[in-house]
């Protein structure tokens, strides 16, 4: 239950930070900012979905985590790590061809890693974790 609460708290903090950043006048509405904000919202939505499914399990008196959910997480993490190496290679290769500043590129790379993990998690859920 502690981990579920932590997931909601972190999601809320990220959302509040995003709103404060927009209200402070940093949000100019260009395509790059809209894209990054959209990705942050998708990642936060994913965290909230995981939190809600854990709550649902708690309500049904099921364990919040079992061997399948741990295996899905592990498989998705290892796949995402592998793909992220190529993502960072791609980011490095475009770093001198783009007008983006270094910190924006790093931010985009980190958000990209989150999206890669999300896609890997969905993939493992759809195709299963059969190993034989």
């Amino acid at each position: 239950m502690k981990r579920t609460i932590l997931m909601f708290v972190i999601s809320a903090l990220v959302l509040v930070t995003l709103v404060l950043w927009a209200l402070k006048g940093h949000f100019t509405g260009n395509i790059q900012e809209i894209g990054m904000s959209g990705i942050v919202l998708v990642v936060v939505g994913f965290a909230i979905y995981l939190g809600v499914s854990r709550l649902r399990s708690h309500k049904l008196h099921e364990p919040a985590e079992d061997e399948l959910s741990k295996k899905v997480m592990m498989r998705a993490s290892s796949l995402a790590y592998y793909i992220s190496i190529y993502l960072w290679l791609f980011v490095m290769s475009i770093s001198d061809k783009t007008t983006l500043e270094a910190h924006s590129l790093v931010g985009a790379g980190i958000l990209g890693m989150a999206v890669v993990f999300l896609l890997c998690w969905i993939g493992v859920k759809v195709f299963g974790t059969k190993n034989v």
Partner: protein, 72 residues
Amino acid sequence: MYNRIKELRARQDLSQLELARLVGVRRETIVFLEKGKYNPSLRLAHDIAKYFRLPIEQVFLFDDEAAPKPTA
């Protein structure tokens, strides 16, 4: 590897949620097992076989064994 969980569960008129609770996993795990999308740990396979009072090899079967494959 495939298994007879769905068939054995139907014989005992047991829901997926009930079986999940009996062996201490989430219902989703039973769904994945029945669809053949997940191979259980030895511990879980043992617990499921123990619940149905059958040896593991009669619940979980390898593809090369001469037994009919489940249709769904």
